[in-house]
Subunit: 219 residues, 2 copies
DNA sequence: TAAAATTTTTAGTTTTGCCTAAAATTATTT
DNA sequence: AAATAATTTTAGGCAAAACTAAAAATTTTA
């Protein structure tokens, strides 16, 4: 299915809104896309005629199977590019979204599969969101805060909540990156700090506050 | 200057045609872009009003200084992406052009500078064309066939003419890549084969035929 | 349940980038 | 230099994707 950039943006936005509400309505999509309700109606007709949407006038709409698959392809591209920008080009997390928003429309399947392999088939993007696989399957992650990770259990760093330069400085010091393998060895009850082991690094201790801002997922 | 994809494509095409002829004319650009002469005239007016073009009705046109700079930015993006696709994703040379054609319109200067650094500031793309630097400067390369490289002189592999799987197999065997540093140690007059040294690899011998299909540039 | 408020759709424009056909201009022949 | 040919521009339209304003449908409220 060949889609215009605009169609792709609509599909992705509808997918996102669907995550929260059963039926999406015109006004909320208009607000989300920062456009007019009339423009939404126009596009809904188009997507319906392309058989991507279940749409009943005045009653709201929802992507059908085909539409959902398209949405997942777009999201896959977006999140892979975000991963690339952070992991390979060293860009900061706040900056990558807008660039990925453009890159996601480049529609060569071969490109995306090669990029995926090049990145080492990441399961999660720099914001901690899961990356759909080539079939559109999303793994559901048992994501948690490092502080809550059971002792001795291996996990992967997925994101951090506090993306300030100060946080970055500290993560850098510890050598903690998105995708780093991590394990809690010991907790100090006195102040809540944790002794941790990051793969390829010596053991070290991190404060409870820091550990509350680092997200990991079960491995 | 914010340009649409279409405007960028016109600018790039005009730049390419300018390389060959003093003044570009409507019909040749129409043929190049596979579109109608009337469409060309439309766009010429637009680019003129944006002060990117020197255009006199019926007499042909040419990019002005600003237009040339824009063209070089687009070409820089295109060639960096081509380099990325080949060098990092391992795509084949014939396939990368069309994909780079899409990627080149993503217009974040920071992205491009980071990509450039990530690739090691390549001077030449996988087709052997020079990559303009961030100021738009193009180095002029003394490109030559490996066979003609003076002995003991360091050079960089820029491209190969024969892009078959068989050629790729052999290059792979030798560990020759775009960007590899290479030097000729000795030539065997009997059959024209060359003893060469590729940086980071042991010395080896390559046939004269192969050496005639490998392009290098002076370092 | 009727009136008011909200939401959604329709109708009519605009801009961009393309098209074809016809007119205008320049170049080439004879 | 006049006629013919080629090139280029203008004129008028079309489709996509947006907009505003107004009409229609639904929901809320009194």
């Amino acid at each position: 299915m060949k889609l215009s950039q605009s169609e792709e943006n609509y599909i992705k936005s509808i997918y996102n809104l669907q995550e929260k509400t059963e039926k999406v309505n015109t006004n909320s999509l208009a607000a989300f896309l920062n456009t007019s309700a009339a423009s939404i109606t126009d596009m809904l007709k188009k997507l319906t005629s392309k058989k991507l949407l279940e749409y009943k006038k005045y009653y709201g709409f929802r992507l059908n199977n085909t539409g959902n698959k398209e949405a997942l392809k777009i999201i896959r591209r977006h999140r892979l590019w975000e991963s690339f920008l952070v992991a390979k080009l060293g860009m900061e997390w706040e900056k990558v979204h807008d660039i990925a928003e453009e890159l996601e429309h480049v529609s060569s399947p071969e490109l995306i599969e090669k990029l995926d392999r090049f990145l080492g088939n990441p399961k999660i993007d720099p914001h901690g969101d899961p990356i759909p696989d080539e079939k559109g399957k999303i793994i559901l992650l048992k994501q948690m805060v490092l502080k809550d990770l059971p002792m001795k259990q291996n996990a992967i760093v997925s994101s951090v909540s506090n993306q300030t330069p100060e946080m970055m400085e500290m993560l850098n010091y510890y050598g903690i990156r998105i995708g780093s393998q991590i394990k809690v060895l010991k907790t100090f009850d006195f102040d809540g700090s944790l002794q941790i082991k990051i793969a390829g690094k010596p053991e070290c201790v991190i404060s409870g506050i820091a550990a509350q801002n680092i997200y990991v997922y079960d491995n």
